[in-house]
Subunit: 142 residues, 3 copies
């Protein structure tokens, strides 16, 4: 995975209000057959489901927050999980006091406005597989 | 807007101390005729004007913070607004206790150091127009 | 530095658990001879060393935090410092309450999982030199 690659297609688009950010992006990736790449997004959510991974207990802790949240910085990547394009996204969100919260972004995050860039990377896609050292679905290290 | 595009020119540059980050970037985009693209920046500010969009009242609430702030992650995009290249930027900033605050970044944000990347995207530019569903100047969805 | 450039090679890879994020990335850049570019990463750390630059005293204040931290958004760039490829990274991290903290990312940051993209930019590399106005090693402005 440390071999040099080239960038492919670029997409800059808006996900409509009320869509689930993760699910809408996943559908977009499947439709466009984007199997490897990077993602970034800004905008606002009306609900967010974020989590952190407990490195000892090896499970995600999630919480769902309703309310007005700016997507201050959402970045991530695209690879295959269970044979399908999967967006792995982390997001920094701001509340109405402009304080930041965030973590891993899960389905259950509702778009108010989302301006998203997807940058395809050409070449053999990566497949996530359960990694015994961390308990997470990860790319192999070679 | 979901048609595949290609990346164009890349710029990696520094905005000088005391400049207004948004205004300096807007001038740069106009001078280079960059009408569609993405932006990312890190550095530090001596003053920031950030805001969030009240999704019910349909207006931005802003505040200006003076003091030492790291630009932890500033990301955004470029499109046309009122016929001119417009950078839509969100920023995560840290205070001297290393706690994060942020939101939409407005003019009134003064550079101490700013290292900026602008990635042009080729093709027909997008124009922001008032969207009746949100009250915001948005790209059309097609 | 405001002349148009082109993107070069792209790398999307994982840094193994227990590695020092900054040092592992620095070695990667040296091995691949990447002298100019941008970086983004998500994942999780088991320890982080972050700091902010005191703009008056002209020195970094650092702190090291042990514990579970998501890398919510780590972005930065690559240029030459002391003749070697140097990653300048800022990071937004979340604690187990999903509150965000962050700043400049220093060596002393231990990977639990790190998924990293490096985008090379072609052309003449930039060299950081001590800037008398800020006290920081910066790119020249031309």
């Amino acid at each position: 995975m440390t071999t040099a690659k080239k960038t492919g297609r670029t997409f800059l688009f808006r996900i409509p209000p009320k869509a689930d950010l993760c699910e809408a992006l996943e559908k977009f990736l499947a439709r466009k057959k984007i199997r490897l790449g990077t993602v970034s997004a800004i905008g606002a959510l009306s609900q967010a489901t974020i989590g952190y991974y407990d490195q000892e207990k090896r499970k995600y802790f999630k919480k769902t927050i309703k309310g007005e949240l700016e997507i201050v910085a959402c970045i991530g990547n695209v690879s295959l999980k269970d044979g399908k394009p999967f967006p792995h996204l982390h997001a920094a969100l701001s509340d109405t006091k402009m304080r930041l919260l965030g973590g891993h972004l899960f389905p259950g995050s509702t778009v108010f406005v989302a301006e998203v860039q997807v940058q395809e990377i050409k070449g053999k896609p990566y497949a996530r597989r359960l990694d015994s050292a961390t308990g997470l679905p990860l790319w192999p290290i070679r």
